[in-house]
């Protein structure tokens, strides 16, 4: 059995603590946190340095043993859990944030550091890390890079790839590539860092990263704006983006979702006029952005009603109408969650058509829409539907693709959406991805079954 030989060799290099085969300890790494994706692992391998990662991959490459890299195991598409006896390569011991480079406004971080650790180090230097998401205490920096994590501030600062100034990674054969100088202007060959970002552990294992930091903005305004319809809300986004450089969030919710949130949470309605579409807008800057936001909202067509938070407590209260959607919808049973992006020009049409498309497949199912309107990113939740019934997923993703949208806004493809990738990527694109995958991982040991579709005959 090649696994036994390889695991013995790895234990010899990493020490006994580096290889875990105890079933109970391994179990928490073989199922994702939603419980939807699960599998068997040969062992859990826990390197504590880049050199140890390199040693592990060199052994696995030589023996052709498959490896599933894993960070905080907070992914939503099954990209970080094993299927059929792979080795789980857990990066959690690669911790540490180096001192913030205040001259360059950058920092170098190890892959296993939780996102919150990076955020805290940035805050200590009077700065911020631009990417933030709900799983911040568990999700690792390496995982956010492997998945090009989006999160709450993409509108203002871009996603993870836009923060990435350099990378250290171990290639499939155990060789280390390292380019952590963090130079903003550096045209010296292909952008390996950008290529690895979002490759979901299929091209290399990220071990360290050089990340840019952004200014910390203390002055904030939050407002809830009621619109006559989705089209009016979409029209407002472009106008606001032109006028208010400091926008940090433009989030959309619909009346039905807000009613459910109010009912579950015992909250009053956010706007007295009970508009059909509500948009939460937030801006943050060095100087108070309230006047800029107010004047932009005032000049907007289709607005029915506005509430502006005048303090942090009121701001938090407005955010609850958006943030409590997940909680409120879960009270109806586990929903199907689809994370999609629509072109702005097609977003209103999608919002109008998707509920009918769902009920055409399953008459009793209910569709809930909310999300990051500023990025065109909608979370489509469908309740009153069997958990394993993916006919609805199929119909929704096909509708998204037919409108020029993306079947994965921020969660990635993983195992969950691999069979639908050809809806949005042509055979030539998928072949190009396969060629790159084969070039960097010729034996196919890195995260097999994730992202890149199998070649069909």
């Amino acid at each position: 059995v090649p696994h036994d030989r390889v695991l013995r060799a790895i234990a010899a290099e990493l020490g006994a603590a580096g290889v875990v085969t105890d079933r109970d300890r391994v179990a928490s790494h073989t199922t994702d946190w939603t419980g939807r994706f699960t599998g068997e692992a040969a062992a859990l391998v826990r390197p504590s340095s880049t050199e140890e990662v390199a040693a592990v991959l060199a052994r696995c490459h030589e023996a052709g043993v498959a490896v599933v890299p894993q960070g905080g195991n907070t992914g939503l598409v099954g990209g970080g859990v094993p299927r059929h006896g792979e080795i789980v390569l857990h990066l959690g011991r690669l911790r540490g944030v180096e001192p913030v480079d205040e001259g360059a406004l950058q920092v170098t971080v190890s892959a296993g550091e939780p996102l919150a650790g990076l955020q805290a180090a940035a805050a200590d230097a009077g700065l911020a890390y631009a990417v933030d998401l709900a799983a911040r205490d568990t999700a690792t920096v390496g995982g956010t890079i492997a998945t090009n994590a989006g999160g709450l501030h993409v509108l203002r600062w871009g996603g993870t790839r836009q923060q990435l100034m350099g990378i250290e990674a171990v290639l499939a054969d155990g060789r280390v590539v390292s380019h952590l100088g963090g130079l903003v202007k550096d045209n010296t060959g292909y952008d390996l860092a950008g290529l690895l970002c979002g490759s979901e552990g299929t091209l290399a294992v990220v071990t360290r990263a050089r990340l840019r930091l952004v200014p910390r903005h203390e002055a904030r305004v939050v407002a809830m704006v009621g619109f006559v319809d989705v089209a009016a809300a979409v029209g407002a986004v472009a106008r606001w983006r032109r006028r208010v450089a400091s926008l940090t969030a433009v989030e959309v919710v619909l009346a039905a979702g807000v009613d459910l949130v109010c009912e579950v949470g015992g909250l009053p309605p956010p706007l007295a006029s009970r508009p059909p579409v509500l948009v939460l807008v937030e801006a943050a800057d060095r100087d108070d952005p309230t006047a800029a936001v107010a004047s932009a909202v005032e000049a907007t067509d289709g607005v029915l009603d506005v509430a502006v938070a005048t303090n942090e407590r009121e701001a938090a209260a407005l955010w609850r109408y958006r943030e409590d959607h997940t909680l409120a919808i879960n009270t109806l049973g586990p929903p199907h969650k689809l994370d999609v992006t629509l072109p702005m020009a097609a977003l209103a049409r999608f919002a109008a058509e998707v509920p009918d498309a769902v009920t055409a497949v399953e008459p009793g199912a209910r569709t809930w829409l909310f999300g990051h309107l500023g990025d065109g990113n909608l979370h489509v939740n469908v309740t009153d539907l069997a958990p394993d019934d993916d006919r609805v997923d199929d119909v929704v993703l096909r509708l998204v693709a037919s409108l020029g949208g993306s079947i994965s806004a921020e969660h990635g493809i993983g195992r969950a959406k691999r069979r639908w990738l050809d809806l949005v990527r042509s055979p030539a694109e998928i072949d190009a991805m396969r060629a790159i995958k084969h070039a960097l991982d010729p034996r196919g040991i890195l995260n097999p079954g994730v992202l890149v579709p199998e070649r069909t005959a």
Copy 2:
């Protein structure tokens, strides 16, 4: 001869106007505009559509005929001119800017469109394209993508890769990959657009691009700040970047260069105190950024003297002290031009050491330093040196690399710097680039001899 057969087949597809073999007409495409790089071409091929580019590459791939893609031929590292009888694939007929998508703040542009055409289309929509450079009337959008062009506003908006929301390109075998939806959040596989950006025509031929646009800022402030030394100027950059979000340029010049500019142009000195180091700072915003810049400068250590432009004429006058450096230095004879980035922490040391490093090789040579201080990007010009004597280039690039800098900030590697790439990229990185190159261009027909070093025995 394979070329004749291939050229006949291409002429059959593109029409007679698509293949040029007339020596005089071909000649202007076989030498770069500096005159430093020149070679022979089998022919000039001028496709007028993506389909024609695909047909050309399919033929060349089949026959193993090498192709050099060329845009406006304004590159500085010999990456766009032929060497030994390749076909020059000129993209100049792929013109056109599609209507600006005002909802998404994006536009789709054909590769052969000059940068100025894109800028004009953005301006007509009340927006701006973030990348600007002196060659704007000739340089093509495709060329700026192939080289990840930097330019004047990297500090504020990033380089070309940061503007690129999607790409259409023809692979070496003639297959077209197209992903022009411009979705901001779209995690559906490897970032092919980012990989092709900066690949210098070695992986595919870019035919169209989807680019983000940015707000147009009319309120501008320009100031010249005198410092006691380079270290003080470097220290100011991080402080200003934290305090002034609207910074668009932070440029450095030295007293010797300013004296030369004044002498050649008959200008008065910009600052009465004649400081050894001068920094031009510019900010632009919706609202007048003068107060923000003034307060940031006031709080800065090491400042000797400040001049603030109070109108556009004075702003242009201050910019001349920076912009006329190229002209003034050229009066001393053709300089060696080296385009490098230093880590902020090493920049002052580099500025102190590089003149001595140059005179150690060639005692009569003079070194002139100026550049984009905000990005750590210095232009090192060396005069009083034979044009072909690259011992100085070698010494300077080695000093840059030893300090953790980049041997190419924005111009790229091309043919000019290929032999030095291993100063800043490890064998593992170069092997990874070679593997990607081979995966996407298995017959090596795309821009041979550019960027990726030959494998050594």
